[in-house]
């Protein structure tokens, strides 16, 4: 190889490394696609703060919105709590269930949160963290949209808005349960 070629080849060899770094530094390491989207939702059996049993199985045939939250998750969980309550009231007669799973929290603080926002949809603590690991959650808030056949169709990370909830739920409502 000629001397001239070497002069170019050596700096050029650094390009792939630079390109890799340029790509790597732009990617948010926290944004990881959930492998669960498209798969059957993991079942769970919890007890709500009111003492009622809460299982995913019992909601089959309905569109289920599973929301993971905590009372210390400020401000995101505080922003989305009214959205969830509003949506629950608007959609409950159309076959939508909103389920709140409170993780890594204290019972008193969580119950105060539910009272403060006047949440009327079922909310249950997950004291062992099993449900949150089963759903592959990284933090709060995270919300899973489950179709009538019990499959996870979408995952939303961060605070929900009315817009996000509507665009996720509406298409699932039109699908058959069978």
């Amino acid at each position: 190889m000629s001397r001239r070629a070497w002069r170019w080849l050596i700096p050029l060899s650094a390009l792939p490394v630079l390109a890799l770094l340029a790509y790597g530094f732009r990617v948010n390491p926290r944004e990881i696609p959930s492998p669960l989207v498209g798969r059957p939702a993991p079942g769970f059996a919890l007890t709500t703060f009111d003492g009622a049993p809460l299982t995913l199985e019992a909601q089959r045939g309905k569109v289920v919105v599973v929301n993971f939250w905590a009372s210390w998750c400020y401000p995101a969980c505080y922003e989305e709590a009214p959205v969830l309550e509003r949506s629950w009231r608007a959609y409950r007669d159309r076959g939508v269930v909103v389920v709140g799973v409170d993780i890594q929290d204290k019972a008193e603080a969580a119950q105060k949160f539910i009272r403060d926002f006047g949440l009327s949809f079922p909310n249950a603590p997950d004291p062992t963290g099993k449900v949150s690991v089963d759903f592959g959650t990284y933090g709060v808030p995270e919300t899973f949209f489950i179709d009538r056949r019990g499959r996870i169709r979408a995952k939303h990370v961060g605070a929900l808005t009315d817009e996000v909830l509507r665009t996720r739920v509406e298409p699932l409502l039109g699908e058959p349960a069978g």
Binding site: P29, I32, P33, S34, P35, L36, P42, A70, W72, C73, Y74, P75, A76, C77, I103, Q104, D105, K106, A107, P127, T128, G129, K130, S132, V133, D134, F135, G136, T137, Y138, G139, V140, P141, V157, G158, A159
Partner: protein, 157 residues
């Protein structure tokens, strides 16, 4: 803004966990702390970057260690326990990428780079050592210089 899971649940959770453990069925086998540590050491703590589940003091990592222990006690193999986490979090949860498929590249690329580097160095060294020496011993010392050296060395006492 998104809030990370923080180790906030304290006594209440501990009490709940102890209660849950008491109600759990007898384990199929006893699991040592070392076994749990071995598996947890290969799992990325999901709420804290660049820490393993074995090393993180967070509540989430503690719960994950409990899940590892429980699944081992139920008779699952280490590989099955790891797969349980991979199924839910993706291969992202593994601190060392798998030596198969796309992530095999991560393991092979450094070896290829080292081999390539050695090859380049080898070729260069071979070229340099083979190059006819144009300096040093080959240079002729002209008679005038030879005469001067002789004179000066003889002048020494």
């Amino acid at each position: 803004m998104r809030v990370r899971l923080a180790p906030v649940a304290t006594l209440f959770l501990a009490v709940l966990l102890i209660g849950a453990a008491r109600g759990a069925p007898a384990p199929a086998r006893t699991v040592s702390e070392a076994e749990v540590h071995e598996i947890a050491g290969g799992l990325r703590c999901v709420v804290c970057q660049n820490l393993s589940v074995a090393d993180s003091p967070s509540e989430m990592a503690r719960q994950m260690r409990a899940i590892v222990r429980e699944r081992l006690e139920a008779g699952e193999s280490a590989a099955e326990v790891v797969q349980y986490f991979v199924d839910r979090y993706g291969e992202w949860i593994l601190l060392s990428p798998r030596r198969s498929g796309f992530t095999l590249l991560v393991w092979l690329a450094p070896l290829v780079a080292v081999a390539l580097g050695l090859a380049i160095v080898g070729v260069l060294v071979w070229k340099w050592t083979r190059r006819p020496a144009t300096t040093g011993a080959a240079r002729r010392v002209d008679p005038a210089m030879r005469e001067r050296i002789r004179r000066e060395t003889e002048a020494e006492p």
